[in-house]
Symmetry: C2
Amino acid sequence: MQALEKLRDRLAELSDLGSIEMLLQWDQLVMMPAGGAGARAQQLGALARMTHERSTAAELGEWLDELEGAPLDDIDGDIVRVARRDWERARRIPEELAVELARASTDGQESWQLARAADDFSAFLPALERNVELARERGRCLAEEGQSPYEALLGDYDYGLSTQDLRRVFGDLAQALPPLVTEATLASPRRSLEVPVAAQQAAVAGVLRRLGVDSESWRVDVSAHPFTTWIGTRDSRVTTRYNDGDVESLLSSLHEYGHALYERQVAPALERTNLAGGTSMSVHESQSKLWENHVARHPAFAEVLAAELAAGGFAVTAADLHATLVGVAPSVIRVSADPLTYPLHIILRFELELAMIEGALAVADLPEAWREGMARLLGVEVPSDALGCLQDVHWGGGSFGYFPSYALGCLIAAQLWETLEAELGARDDDLRQGEVGEIQRWLAERVHRHGRRLDTIPLVEQATGRALEIDPFLRYVAPLAGL
Amino acid sequence: MQALEKLRDRLAELSDLGSIEMLLQWDQLVMMPAGGAGARAQQLGALARMTHERSTAAELGEWLDELEGAPLDDIDGDIVRVARRDWERARRIPEELAVELARASTDGQESWQLARAADDFSAFLPALERNVELARERGRCLAEEGQSPYEALLGDYDYGLSTQDLRRVFGDLAQALPPLVTEATLASPRRSLEVPVAAQQAAVAGVLRRLGVDSESWRVDVSAHPFTTWIGTRDSRVTTRYNDGDVESLLSSLHEYGHALYERQVAPALERTNLAGGTSMSVHESQSKLWENHVARHPAFAEVLAAELAAGGFAVTAADLHATLVGVAPSVIRVSADPLTYPLHIILRFELELAMIEGALAVADLPEAWREGMARLLGVEVPSDALGCLQDVHWGGGSFGYFPSYALGCLIAAQLWETLEAELGARDDDLRQGEVGEIQRWLAERVHRHGRRLDTIPLVEQATGRALEIDPFLRYVAPLAGL
């Protein structure tokens, strides 16, 4: 079993390199002076080269060959299975293509930034065409038996998901949601609440403290875009941002908390193996959305949030606060969408990126298709490309197949929450007290502890006893439409 | 010249790895929640293994063999020369010894911490004996023709320095300083100044701003022990600490600034080569001491410091502030020693570590020798081992040959300052205005830009036109003794 020891050592090293990379990125976004950008790019590049070299090494394949017939316990069996998958995928991309992808990603983001600032899609078109072409090529390299290039790309974020699953689920949602939106716009109109930043800061600190965020093993900082980093099981770092006159910080801090808690509760036995960490983008997003949609937006938890805002010097009733957190209004911007319309923004992106990769939509026709889709799905008119198809960085950076996880996260969160309440009882009494221990434990048992041992679909089935469904999400948003 | 390209690529990678390691250490001391310590140790371990593997690789030796006959320009010639030296030194330590040294260092620091807390030297004795023995063994491995083990160890910090040089310089100082101390204790008695922390913070920020510390390419943070980190030429990070009732922060922030400025002003052509960065511990320390002793403690600059304290709400005359910054009182603790007695603390440590490595002093006899030395050199009685030979971490961590650089830094700083003033004229008028541009440029030209191209002794000779001397330092401290 020398091969097993060598494999585990290599995976531990790769896990350390991954943590180091996360620290470099966290520091860049939260602490680094702007002048450090050039050196940081060099450092990240050196790290990426070393990681690539060590994760695609031929010797790794030899260890795996040796181990695949051997008698292994459950965890080691999964380690070998997932290592084989990762190794094969990493080696399927020719060196030349990898280099070109990296360059195109950097160029594409730069070009996107300029085009968005100038509201000029034509300035982005060449870079986007190149990104689509390279992503298609990459998908071809990655594709397994019977897979389309797009489906192969999905595997970067959600291994095992099929394009057909997505077409079905998103197709059903695209039918079911728009009528609800119309009703919700009347029943739960969006409203604003002018909460001073100082009160938001006090409330965020107070709420996170109730959820177990202490200074012993957490950091809470401010960054331009909220995100979560895990440098170690007991070194979790979330960020948020504060704007005068909205309450986004309350939602986003619970959202990021959900990501962090997932990583913290992976079984200790998986630490520093390739099975540590969240299993997929959509399950990760389900964890953030569970805390954002089902806890932060819960009417009972609004009492806790209102109390913490009061302690920060801002008076609001729980009912008014809750109404603000769940108000619905179709709009053109994804990142500020309400919980009901949010998935529709994603469905549009899924339709369009799939069509571009499959060649059914010419990249030059994207702005037109975007306007048509926004009118069809959300009933809104897109005033400009900057507020339309240029609003997100993903395609500029070469990420195709990433968007679906945002909507899947909403669906999986709702399905998990229904199962949780069916098993533990309604959470109202606990949430009114800010008591979330049972929720944390249930999530640890059903979702978190497995790490990467279960892929998205098997995990959902194991945790909820059912296939992935849209009904729990529809039941979650029904009250917003007054149903 | 393919070998040159390969060598430069490898050195650039090692430089990136070095910067990454510095970031991990900075984060650990300034930002990391305590719970992250375990994971951080793993990350640093992985990085150290990778650095060791890549810096001792056989292929590196082959490239050097190929290049050593080849026609190279000045910089490339120095790159090859220094790379050969580093590679040889790194490879002279057998793997087994390296592992044992690392383990002994960790154990030694732990044992030292416990022993100091309990004021019990006997609890530290076994670990210290092991550290001395291993360091001697390491020195034997590193020794070049005619070198003693101790001299070889010096090369870790100050390549090219001889034990004989140190004996001469420190012997002369040990004669010259004690009489001055007696006089200075009367002429410039130490006094305290109760400056509130808020005023210190305002003053530190204000002074550093005058020296060019902006948020574009610097960070200034607080840590338990002040230190400096350079993550990139335009990403310098200094820390300081604030205690109510002293003015250490004013001195320490200029001290750390001096370290940072050195790294920032290395010639751009050396970036990401093995020649980037300060050439030795003693030259580095000379740069921090120059700003601490010759700028922060300059009577004219006291006007700037007093003005910044006034802006922070604390009134003090420049004369009183200056008197506080240069007051002399022999004491038992090195890190809080005044500028006159400081080198005597170092001389004692040099004598003792040399004697231990050479076997002339049994480790068990260290406490006694310490007391004797403190009485002889500083005229003070050591009340306990905790405040005596257990006060510093260095030997516990296995560092022998490190201490001398602290005193050499004081000497080199004084010698550089005299040369600078002889060439540019007295700095009084400029310093009274907080104007340091000419000082920065002179240091860049004479010291900083060379990076590692010149070792300590040649650098001092090149910068000042003279060998290393003690007289400039004696002239610097003479006024404190009323001379």
